[in-house]
Amino acid sequence: MAVIELTVNGRKQRTDAPPGLMLLDLLRDSLGLTGAKPGCGEGACGACTVLLDGRPVKSCITPAASARGKTVVTIEGLAPEGGLHPVQQAFLETEAYQCGYCTPGMILAAAALLDRTPRPADAAIRQALEGHICRCGSYPRIVEAVRLAAREARRD
């Protein structure tokens, strides 16, 4: 069985990865990090989104082997222990969730967007998140949250 080394939320990890294992399963089943959610298994909902070397990927269709030697950030590691990333803070302030199942994926994708584009127009926010489904229909508040996070980040 193949062994993979990668860095997850700042910690080096060494773990078994049978061929065909997806990054999502490695995170949830091997490392016990359940913040990334399974929603469809085919890259069509964004619930499983994590950051791989800073870029959002759908971990359900990302082979675990492709993360070898790379850096993964999940929702559990987006902010230092006990703190909140500005995007998390903005989601909290706008209550941009209902059941919350899509929220980790939305937040990570939004954080990556703001890294690349600190002042996104609403259209750019929607475009960056288009592959993410919120079945509870929190979309307008999510756009508002990302807008707020961008504003707050500029103020700091």
């Binding site: 049978p18 919350g100 229909g137």
Partner: protein
């Protein structure tokens, strides 16, 4: 398979108990006779509120904590709400029919007032209710700490996989599992049509499942296109029954005679497809046996119904089963029954270890249940000035919620005709109210157009309910009805004591059209948590947008790519307006906002194209 008799009996008992308790009727009526549906325990400075209700994103946990904090005069943070653990909480039915607000909130307040020897605080004195208290789960949600059923990782737990046939009603005829059984640590269960494996990891369980050779008798899925004709032949007429939450026959005057003698008859027909709940979290459960006692942890809306169904399926007593429910990652009426729980329990019984089963998206689409499709026929007679004199509304298959019209028709009959269901159908947010409002609000619009009358004024001429008139008029003002030069439509209703109106604007786009603006005005009585209420209104409208424009389930639906859900780019600017009436007991609002989206858009589509969209989804 859903055990319908069990469900019907369970829901009937719940309804009668409620009727008896009077809790649903008014806050002023005391709760006596029936079991109080909540319990309050004190430990030091904190309180534990125990309820059978669950939070599935509609904000129930926060709202109930607000209600308790209000009466106890303590901060919301002093209230710990324990939900949906059958060993700890009283059985008060499931989280359905938007009852938490009108039933459980008053019950909490009454119970606390009773313990304090006082009466619930009056609206002018409220300090916590009526405020937009932040969702108590917010921090857990944004940090990923919120745990859903599929996230549970118990020690020593195996992963289970169920083998499924390629058609919904196939029967299992032969199984060869020898190769799978040889793998170390693999358990195979084969019992009638149930065939499943458990292994140390999901990966290994899937590998074992691939080694099993199973044969099923093919049983083709019934074609949906023939249902309407069949229903007309086989449907059973309703009989009057008012001892039920949603009477199947609502009458006034003599609709048949008035239609026979009436003039300017119009008969129209509407179709609503099956749709899937498609909660973003697919269902999951962990089952663990301890001798003859079973503990099941899942994420369902009705822990006691789930317990009864598990007990029945496994041939054990309900007292042997303990059900705990985590917050579902979306429920929408689709997570009321035991299914994945029973599968996990059967595997765990054979394996002698706890087993976790987590459905794939394909299983969620194919093996859960769907919102019933509906065929609606409406026939009316009218005077020369347009006033409707007779109204007959027939609904085949979809159900009876939402049948009573909000209009004053002197002769009317609204009927739900039962039909044999070819698929597993069940509850869905607002259930048939979406079907009934789509038909009613489309027909009334067709009538207005036929008489060359403004659809707003035409409706107002038939409405005496002051609160409904008020939401319509407020909406018309904010929307600037009739939206000069624009293709706009509207719809209104009274749903579960709430008054709602939606205004929609459409524009051509490509070969079709798009919705460019939506506005909703709602009066749910007292707005107990306005921010949360607006979140529910928004969510309901966007889910309604999916049903109006894209969603259609068939037995072939297997993946999210093949089932079009609303996305960011589909959502037009949405304006929400609440009319807060503090003095009126709050109505539930988790369901109502979904019911008017389709007719408002269909009516705007008519204004745009001159064509009637009588069959959903409109953007097929």
């Amino acid at each position: 398979m859903i055990d319908e008799s069990l469900t019907r009996e369970y829901k009937r008992r719940e309804f009668l108990q409620l009727l008896h308790a009077g809790a649903a009727v008014s806050l002023a009526l005391p709760l006596h006779g029936a079991q109080t549906p909540v319990r309050l325990l004190r430990s030091g400075d904190t309180y534990e509120l125990r309820t059978g209700k669950i939070d599935m994103g509609q904000g129930a946990r926060t709202l109930l904590a607000q209600a308790a904090a209000e009466e106890l005069g303590v901060p919301v943070s002093a209230i710990q709400v324990i939900m949906a653990d059958t060993a700890l909480v009283p059985d008060d039915g499931g989280t359905w029919a938007s009852l938490t607000t009108p039933q459980t909130v008053p019950a909490v307040r009454q119970e606390i007032a009773r313990q304090q020897g006082s009466t619930p605080r009056q609206p002018p004195e409220w300090r916590v209710l009526g405020q937009s208290t932040p969702n108590v789960l917010g921090r857990a949600i944004v940090t990923g700490a919120q745990v859903y059923a599929g996230d549970l990782r118990h020690e020593n737990t195996l992963a289970g996989i169920v083998l499924r046939p390629s058609s919904l009603n196939a029967r299992l005829t032969s199984v060869d599992a020898a190769a799978a059984r040889k793998l170390p640590g693999v358990t195979v269960v084969h019992d009638n049509d149930f065939l499943a494996v458990a292994a140390a990891t999901p990966h290994e369980a899937r590998r074992a499942a691939r080694l099993i050779r199973a044969e099923w008798t093919p049983a083709p899925d019934p074609p949906i296109s023939e249902l309407a004709a069949e229903w007309r032949k086989t449907a059973v007429a309703p009989v009057e029954n008012n001892q039920t939450r949603y009477p199947p026959l609502v009458r006034k005057g003599d609709a048949a005679a008035a239609l026979a003698a009436g003039e300017r008859l119009l008969k129209t027909e509407y179709w609503l497809p099956f749709i899937a709940h498609a909660p973003l979290e697919t269902r999951a459960a962990i089952a663990e046996w301890n001798e003859d006692r079973l503990t099941v942890h899942s994420g369902k809306q009705a822990p006691f119904l789930v317990r009864a169904e598990i007990a029945k399926a496994l041939g054990i007593a309900e007292t042997q089963v303990h059900v705990l429910s985590s917050m579902p990652g979306g429920g929408f009426g689709g997570k009321q029954h035991a299914d994945v729980e029973i599968e996990a329990a059967r595997l765990a019984r054979s394996a002698g270890r706890p087993v976790r089963v987590h459905w794939s998206r394909e299983e969620e689409f194919r093996w859960s249940y769907v919102r019933p499709a509906g065929l609606m026929e409406i026939e009316t007679a009218a005077r020369a000035d347009g006033r409707i004199t007779a109204w007959r509304h027939r609904n085949y298959n979809a159900g009876s919620p939402g049948l009573p019209p909000p209009y004053d028709f002197p002769n009317q009959s609204s009927e739900f005709w039962r039909t044999p269901a070819p698929f597993r159908q069940g509850s869905y947010r607002a259930l048939a109210s979406t079907a009934n409002n789509f038909a009613r609000e489309s027909h009334i619009d067709e009538r207005a157009a036929g008489f060359h009358q403004d659809p707003l004024h035409y409706r107002l001429a038939h409405i005496t309910d002051e609160r409904l008139r008020a939401v319509l008029l407020r909406g018309a003002g904010l929307f600037r009805w009739p939206g000069p030069g624009k293709a706009c439509g509207l719809a209104c209703t009274i749903e579960k004591d709430g008054r709602l109106a939606i205004f929609a604007e459409t524009a051509p786009a490509g070969k079709g059209f798009r919705v460019t603006r939506l506005l909703m005005v709602a009066d749910f009585g007292a707005a107990l948590n306005p921010t949360n209420l607006k979140n529910q209104m928004m969510g309901g409208m966007i889910q309604g947008l999916g049903g109006a424009l894209f969603e259609e389930w068939t037995p072939a639906t297997r993946s999210l790519r093949a089932y079009r859900l609303p996305r960011f780019s589909d959502v037009p600017p949405i304006e929400l307006e609440l009319i807060d009436r503090r003095e009126i007991p709050a109505a539930g609002a988790g369901e109502a906002p979904i019911v008017l989206v389709a007719p408002a858009i269909a009516n705007a589509f008519f204004a745009l194209t001159g064509e009637r969209g009588r069959s959903l989804p409109l953007n097929r």
